[in-house]
């Protein structure tokens, strides 16, 4: 494979829609006044929906869906995407993935909030208990299952979650919300104002806490937590330029964990970030974006991982349209310095290191004909452990008729080694990192179909990921190797029915089949049952109904089923959440949410042979005030 050569052809998932938007809007202009007044809004957003027509498996969680669900934290909001598997491990920790390999230290998903990646170089995954946003300020969450490596780089192997918050010009005024339940509490306030005619800002603070749970055997889970986050965002416009500056700071406080007579201390964390982004329109369809951010985080956990990480990230890209082409290209640089304190399960050698990543990418969307669009692109990303990684993809979209869309794709994506893979040791177990550990590689084939007929919209995707060099181990002293390979295949389907003006029903189903093998030369005693590899349900489905009972009252019921987990074993579960909201006035909303209503308690995930943490039935009442 020509790794070093720069392959200039490429796709743009996010420029995709522009070509077709023309058709969409022209058809709107031809509707009668009465018909136009009855067109449903895809999302309550002021920007065009960029991913709507892309040749990929995308679900967009809208602000409206988040509001109606009554969720209070970012990971819970992700349950709204039918193409994600979200398992709550305890009060604050989650295992979240798409298309398998779910794990407490899952490492094949890329998560971004306003262009800032939440990935930690420590284990190439996300510390979910340290991430939150003010959900009222979220414009939409784009969830792409399948590889997005060509645009987003290594780690976007099984999916990309892109959280996009509203511009501060759309959050003017005061918002205050609070709630209390038998399991958790929430208080938040946001104020947005104008700095000048062309500049707006908002500031916010959010506090949430959750009570301690019990494990399946009745012992304490020591997972009680309190999370505080504050932040701001400033947006300014000047002629063709748009500027955004935003930042957040947070603190997580856990409770002391006691093992017999041994106090292991609390799991605490703190961090913050500052991001600046500048967009400049050069002309019709041509725009440059420059972005830079710094991110600091310190996690104090004497049991699992105890890192302090500082990251700097710079990015530049240019999107332009000419003739039949929509091209986007760009480059990026990231440097990350980490200091690892010894924890019970992990010691890093060396304890501190600085890693650097460089990338260049280009992606072109070519309108082959009125109905056929070819998107081709590649990213070359350089990391300190394995050098250049080549991440190409080709996508073909066929607009069969105005309401039917077929697409297919071929891509190569990698999960490059993390500090964990190359530097971990353990004082508790004889474990050593793999000095020769290399990138895990997936070749991905996808076929999808989307339809939007009358009141029903539907999406179905079939995928096959051919994996090579997945992480395996050896008998003690454990050394990390790349000796698992095989296939993960499955389907993702969802549909939304606007049954009437007042009733909307959304259903989703995903299936997953794995066929992984240990290389015959491997001596891994656990093989493919290794708990740090994956623990995936073979099937999950969701069904959600939202009803406007009147102008002032709404009701939502959400049901989900997750089939049994194989290793460590866990029973299937079905959960029902209900929310009722009443708006006594324009500015005030009162709501009550019931979660996990079908049984008094159940676990959602098992990370080891130890008894899993059980999540209880919960009831939460909330009040929200918005005004000027």
């Amino acid at each position: 494979m020509p790794r070093r050569r720069w392959h200039a052809a490429s796709i743009a998932l996010f420029v995709c829609a522009a070509a077709r938007a023309q058709g969409d809007i022209a058809s709107l202009a031809d509707l009668s006044l009465e018909e136009l007044a009855n067109v449903p809004v895809t999302s309550v957003t002021r920007r065009p929906e960029p991913l709507k027509d892309a040749a990929a498996s995308i679900y967009v969680i809208t602000a409206e869906e988040i509001r109606r669900s009554g969720v209070r934290t970012l990971p819970e909001a992700l349950r709204l995407a039918p193409n994600l598997t979200v398992a709550r491990i305890d009060a604050g920790q989650y295992a979240i993935t798409a298309r398998g390999f779910n794990n407490a230290v899952g490492n094949k998903l890329l998560v971004l909030v306003d262009g800032r990646t939440l990935y930690t170089p420590v284990f190439s995954g996300v510390f979910w208990d340290q991430q939150d946003v003010v959900l009222e300020d979220v414009e939409r969450i784009e969830v792409i299952s399948g590889p997005g490596a060509t645009l987003w780089g290594a780690n976007a192997v099984n999916g990309v979650i892109n959280v996009i918050t509203k511009s501060s010009s759309d959050t003017l005024g005061t918002l205050a919300a609070g709630g209390i339940g038998n399991r958790d509490r929430l208080a938040l306030a946001r104020y947005g104002g104008r700095l000048s005619g062309d500049a707006t800002y908002r500031i916010y603070g959010k506090y949430s806490d959750a009570r301690e749970n019990e494990k399946e055997d009745g012992t304490r889970a020591f997972d009680g937590r309190a999370f505080t986050q504050v932040g701001f965002r400033v947006d300014a416009r000047s002629g063709p330029g748009r500027f955004t500056l935003q930042g957040d700071a947070y603190e997580l406080r856990g409770q002391d964990r006691v093992l017999g007579t041994l106090n292991l201390g609390a799991l605490d964390a703190s961090g913050g970030n500052l991001l600046a982004r500048y967009n400049h329109r050069l002309g019709e369809g041509s725009e440059v974006q420059l972005q830079a951010y710094v991110d600091h985080m310190a996690r104090r956990d004497s049991v699992v991982l105890h890192p302090t990480v500082d990251t700097v990230d710079l990015e530049a890209q240019h999107a332009l349209a000419f003739g039949r082409h929509r091209l986007v290209y760009g480059a990026g640089y990231r440097a990350s310095h980490d200091d690892e304190e010894p924890a019970f399960f992990s010691v890093f050698v060396p304890p501190s290191d600085t890693l650097e990543w460089w990338n260049v990418f280009a992606q072109d969307e070519i309108a082959l004909s009125e109905a056929l669009t070819l998107t081709a692109g590649a990213k070359v990303e350089r990391n300190d452990y394995t050098g250049e990684e080549f991440l190409p993809s080709v996508r073909l979209g066929w607009r069969v008729s105005p309401s039917h869309f077929l697409w297919t794709s071929l891509s190569r994506a990698v999960r490059s080694p993390s500090r964990f893979d190359r530097a971990v040791a353990s004082p508790a177990f004889p474990v050593a990192a793999g000095p020769d550990f290399v990138s895990e590689v997936a070749k991905v084939y996808e076929l999808g179909y989307r339809a939007s007929v009358s009141r029903l919209s539907f999406s179905a995707t079939a995928f096959l990921h051919e994996w090579d060099r997945l992480r395996s181990g050896t008998p003690p002293p454990l050394v990390l190797e790349n000796k698992i390979s095989g296939r993960m295949s499955g389907t993702e389907m969802w549909a939304t029915l606007q049954a009437s003006e007042r009733l909307r029903i959304t259903g989703g189903l995903t299936t997953l089949h794995d066929d992984l093998q240990l290389d015959p030369t491997s001596t891994d005693p656990f093989g493919t049952e290794n708990v740090t590899l994956r623990n995936d349900p073979s099937r999950q489905w969701t069904l959600r109904a939202s009803l406007d009972m009147s102008e002032r009252q709404e009701l939502q019921a959400a049901l989900r089923h997750v089939s049994a987990l194989p290793a460590p074993e866990l029973d299937a579960y079905t959960a029902l959440d209900l929310r009722y909201a009443w708006r006594p006035s324009k500015r005030v909303e009162l709501s009550v949410v019931g979660e996990n209503l079908l049984d008094p308690r159940h676990p959602e995930f098992a990370t080891s042979a130890a008894p899993p943490v059980e999540l209880r039935r919960s009831v939460f009442v909330a009040v929200r005030f918005s005004g000027f």
Binding site: L33, V39, T574
Partner: protein
């Protein structure tokens, strides 16, 4: 570890009953609803449509060879309009989309849309257009109070609008009854 089955089964029955109840409650469905579109596109389409249902006094077109839509504080809507207009015409005139900033001259403008980006200076902007033959359209809660004639609202995931007749009359604009019928709310003189 058997935990779920029995209670879950009876619970499933309850859910089916609940689903039925929801379906009944929601009542009769409208005949047909089109595919969803972005809020921006729908608003842009409305801005174009309004032209057909409003009558301007003759002097509004004196010496003009274009139907001019001025857009302030809403670049996305201006972009959507530019994509939409193409070869379309309003009252026989080709359409021109003009991006404006507060203080810019409103000469020759037929429809003025002030987006939420300028909602802070709404009253000031609308005062500049008052009593001229300009259809003032806004996109904020305070729109009609600030002197706008048509104000967009998103309700039940649909883009709707309210109409205030007094400022339209001052501007000598006649709004057709069909447009009034589609409005969510009409403030009469």
């Amino acid at each position: 570890m058997a935990r779920t089955p029995a209670p879950a089964r009876s619970a499933l029955g309850a859910i089916v009953a609940l689903a039925l109840l929801l379906a009944l409650w929601s009542g009769a469905a409208p005949a047909q609803s089109p595919a969803p579109s972005s809020e921006t596109d729908i608003k842009a389409a409305f801005l174009y449509k309004f032209g057909d249902f409003v009558q301007w006094p003759p002097e509004a077109f004196a010496g003009e060879d274009r139907f001019v839509v001025g857009v302030m504080g809403a670049d996305e809507i201006a972009e959507a309009l530019e994509r939409l207009v193409g070869e379309r015409r309003v009252k026989g005139y080709p359409i021109a989309v003009r991006r404006l900033r507060p203080g810019d001259s409103l000469r020759g403008v037929h429809v003025l849309f002030v987006g939420s980006g300028e909602s802070g200076r709404l009253a000031e902007i609308l005062a500049a257009a008052d009593a001229q033959p300009i259809l003032a359209v806004t996109d904020s809660e305070a729109g009609l109070r600030a002197g706008s004639m048509i104000n967009f609202v998103v309700e039940n995931q649909r883009v709707r609008f309210d109409i205030a007749l007094p400022p339209a009359e001052r501007a000598r604009l006649k709004i057709s009854s069909r447009l009034l019928a589609v409005a969510r709310k009409v403030i009469a003189s």
